[in-house]
């Protein structure tokens, strides 16, 4: 039955996340925006016990041979709600502060990649550290200076030399790269090509641990928003890692039909795009809440939802438009997550929610600044920060343009060759 009731156990966790957002994150939101790259340790320590606990349960479940398929975590009969839960938590935390949320100590995308294609030994070796007492981070290294949306342009190489892979290249826009390599004994997953002539088929993910010689952080980016989060440029200069740090099949299947390394990367998008959408929509909700609150508190304006559009004031109509965009994007995100939980293919829905959320949060926060006027533009209030934080969501995990292409290819039945 079509139903919008959140399961109780999720609702409870969301309520807790909202508490953290309100009491741990919000009060420090401006501070970490201004002190770019400072680590919000109070938030990190608040989150760590449950992150570690979750990581332990996920890892143990993954290592129990029978239940790796994951349609139900603890042998219970209730339907899987992993992704539904995830997007709700992230939405709530991003309502608190999207930059701080990105510093959440966890294996992040690196962990997702290892969980998806790692061997049991790799999982144990690389992921056990995320279950201990010390906050630890993982990070994904994909983008390069000349390879953004076009990941096939990646030039970082991995050359087999005896028992080791030798990595050379430069990665940029690595979220939490500094935290993974310098602030904790974390890991990063690096996409590199084992055969530059093989195109995407030659691209493979490698796990690099903190402390590996030849891995240096060249700089941390100064950004428009999400400034609490570190965005690293990492250089690999003959960085040597053991042979078994490669994830998945090391063979290059040269046929265009088997770009499996890359396919692995693409598949994670189905899971990560709803997560980015959820984060975007947390920011959007923050902006809407704040706008409505000030309109009501300072000017006594309450939005009249039952009055026809043409009889509304301009401010009322703006708020309603903001809310409609926001809610549509959020329901698309819920659906994409729900499909994932159901084991249904959700590439279309993932891109849809990402497109709509990225666009919605950008427009909503820009409009919120306008609606609040001189207050919106001032750093005495957080609205201007949310506008700055918002914009990244139309860019990372696939720009709005890339995701429109994904949607169009799906509905038109075109390959990426036919429609590019």
């Amino acid at each position: 039955m079509i139903d919008f009731n959140l399961p109780d156990h999720v609702a409870q966790q969301v309520a807790m996340a909202q508490m953290v957002a309100e009491h741990v994150m919000r009060p420090k939101s401006r501070f970490y925006d201004e002190s770019e790259h400072d680590i919000p340790w109070e938030f990190v320590y608040t989150m760590w016990p449950q992150m570690a606990d979750q990581a332990r349960r996920d890892l143990d479940a993954a290592l129990k041979p029978k239940e790796t398929n994951g349609s139900s975590g603890n042998g219970a009969k209730r339907p899987r709600t992993t992704n539904l839960r995830m997007i709700h938590l992230i939405e709530a935390l991003s309502w608190g502060d999207a930059g701080m949320y990105l510093t959440m100590p966890s294996s992040q995308l690196a962990g997702a990649a290892i969980q998806a294609v790692g061997t049991p030994e790799q999982k144990e070796r690389f992921l056990r550290r995320f279950t201990g007492d010390t906050p630890t981070w993982g990070a994904m290294c994909m983008t390069e200076p000349q390879a953004g949306s076009d990941t096939s342009a990646i030039r970082t190489t991995a050359i087999k030399d005896g028992d080791e892979w030798v990595l050379n290249g430069t990665k940029i826009f690595v979220t939490s790269g500094h935290k993974a390599l310098k602030d904790s004994n974390g890991i990063i997953v690096v996409w590199a090509t084992v055969d530059p002539k093989a195109g995407r088929a030659g691209m493979k993910p490698f796990v690099v641990e903190a402390g590996t010689p030849g891995v240096e952080i060249l700089k941390l980016e100064h950004k428009l928003g999400i400034r609490a989060s570190d965005t690293a440029m990492i250089v690999f200069d003959n960085a040597r890692i053991p042979a078994d740090h490669i994830l998945g099949n090391p063979t290059v299947l040269n046929s265009k039909d088997h770009p499996e390394g890359f396919k692995g990367a693409m598949k994670t998008f189905d899971a990560t795009r709803p997560i980015v959408a959820a984060s975007a929509l947390g920011i959007a909700r923050a902006a809407i809440d704040y706008t409505k609150d000030i309109l009501k508190r300072e000017e006594g304006i309450e939005i009249r939802y039952n009055v026809p559009r043409h009889k509304l004031t301009a401010a009322e109509r703006d708020v309603i438009d903001m809310e409609a965009m926001h809610r549509a994007a959020w329901l698309l995100t819920m659906k994409a997550a729900w499909m994932m939980d159901q084991g249904l293919p959700n590439t279309l829905e993932s891109s849809e929610c990402k497109v709509k959320a990225g666009e919605a949060v950008t427009k909503i926060t820009q409009k919120a600044v306008e609606t609040l006027g001189p207050i919106g533009y001032s750093r005495d209030h957080l609205v201007e920060k949310w506008m700055r934080d918002a914009k990244i969501n139309d860019i990372f995990e696939g720009t709005g343009q890339i995701n429109r292409l994904v949607i169009a290819r799906r509905i038109l039945g075109y390959t990426s060759k036919e429609l590019r």
């Binding site: 026809p308 309603i320 809310e323 497109v355 949607i407 038109l412």
Partner: protein, 364 residues
């Protein structure tokens, strides 16, 4: 527990409606737009699907179904995908039946609901929209004033579907500060049914201006009796229903444009392979999928008895714009071919424009 899957029962209803809408309504759509008439046998076939009688509980002579706004939304989308004029025509009895079901007194239910369990189409209509640019369903110009034993109705309505053929009409009027419904006989003194209206779109649906001059209505014909009804909830239902229809129209336009864009070649390749066209289609798809979920959520809240005015408004706001966007873009994608009546997209553009304009036209 969150779910986006319809029930099996809903799937069955939707399947039968879909077949009817695609094979029958769609086939007469263009002709109905030209002639202003939807063939009676099509309407009877549609009635035969049992959508309306299925909603009437057993004690009132129906098939014991339970009214569900979610099911209504699913059905509405499919019908409007076939043809909007046909959908509103076929479902017009609901704009009387549903308010009675939701807010009528027990006597009113017993008196009126069994009529809708008939085997043949029961023309009935609601007079809500007013011919004013500041038309506001929550603040009508048409008034109902208690005068001794009766209510006197005065005012003017527009876009009243089937007014010339309907036996029963539910008139919405301002009584004090609220909007209340009055069941009137179309033959009552003081009612003047004007010429059939000429509208930009939904031309297969006959609509009329209706004037009320000191029309006497017995208090027992006031919906919900002395206390009246909570009109806002009725309006929520109507807005959700209209938005569901909007999804259907938008989807029709999208699919047609998509097919055309894949077939039409320019500069050596199908135009769908150009980003300008492909992105338009991707955005139409995304917004229709998002809008559909807004409709479902608002409908679900209504079914749960939850406050849904905000959600209905969000769904309507979003779908008013999205349907128009889809209609407009489908014409644009077909270019010159979209501008001529050999293709249906110009019709959908005209129909789509109805949504932001005719608030309360239908209740599904």
């Amino acid at each position: 527990m969150v779910s986006f899957a319809a029930t099996e029962e809903q799937e069955m209803i939707v399947d039968s409606v879909r077949d009817f809408a695609r094979e029958q309504l769609r086939n007469v759509m263009r002709e109905a737009d030209d002639s202003g008439d939807i063939p009676a046998d099509i309407i009877e076939t549609g009635w035969g699907l049992g959508i309306v009688p299925a909603l009437i509980p057993e004690q009132y002579g129906g098939f014991a179904g339970e009214y569900s706004a979610v099911t209504g939304a699913l059905v509405g989308e499919e019908l409007a995908y076939g043809d909007l004029a046909g959908a509103v025509y076929l479902l017009s009895p609901l704009s009387v039946a549903i308010p009675i079901l939701l807010g009528g007194t027990e006597e009113q239910k017993h008196e009126y609901l069994p009529r809708f369990a008939a085997d043949t189409f029961v023309p009935a209509t609601a007079a809500l929209i007013e011919p004013r640019i500041t038309y506001d369903p929550m603040d009508m110009y048409t008034t109902a004033v208690k005068d001794g034993d009766v209510y006197l109705l005065n005012g003017a309505k527009a876009y009243v579907p089937l007014a010339a053929s309907a036996g029963m009409m539910l008139v919405w009027a301002k009584e004090g500060d609220t909007t209340q419904g009055f069941l009137v006989d179309l033959g009552a003194a003081g009612i003047t049914i004007g010429e059939r209206e000429k509208n930009m779109g939904i031309k297969g649906l006959p609509t009329y201006k209706v004037r009320f001059q000191d029309v006497h209505v017995s208090p027992k014909c006031k919906l919900g009796g002395e206390a009246g009804v909570d009109f806002e909830t009725m309006l929520d239902h109507s807005r959700v229903a209209m938005s569901a229809l909007a999804v259907g129209v938008g989807k029709a336009a999208l699919e047609y444009a998509m097919t055309y864009a894949k077939e039409r070649e320019a500069f050596g390749a199908p135009i769908a392979t150009r980003q300008a066209i492909a992105f338009m289609l991707a955005e139409m798809q995304t917004d229709l999928d998002g809008g559909r979920l807004l409709v479902w959520e608002a409908a679900w809240r209504l079914d749960q008895g939850l406050e849904a005015t905000r959600e209905a408004r969000l769904a309507k706001t979003f779908m008013d714009d999205t349907a128009l966007m889809c209609g407009d873009r489908s014409v644009q994608i077909l270019g010159g071919h979209g501008y001529i009546r050999d293709h249906p997209v110009e019709l959908w553009l005209r129909n789509a424009r109805a949504f932001g304009v005719l608030d309360g036209l239908a209740m599904v």
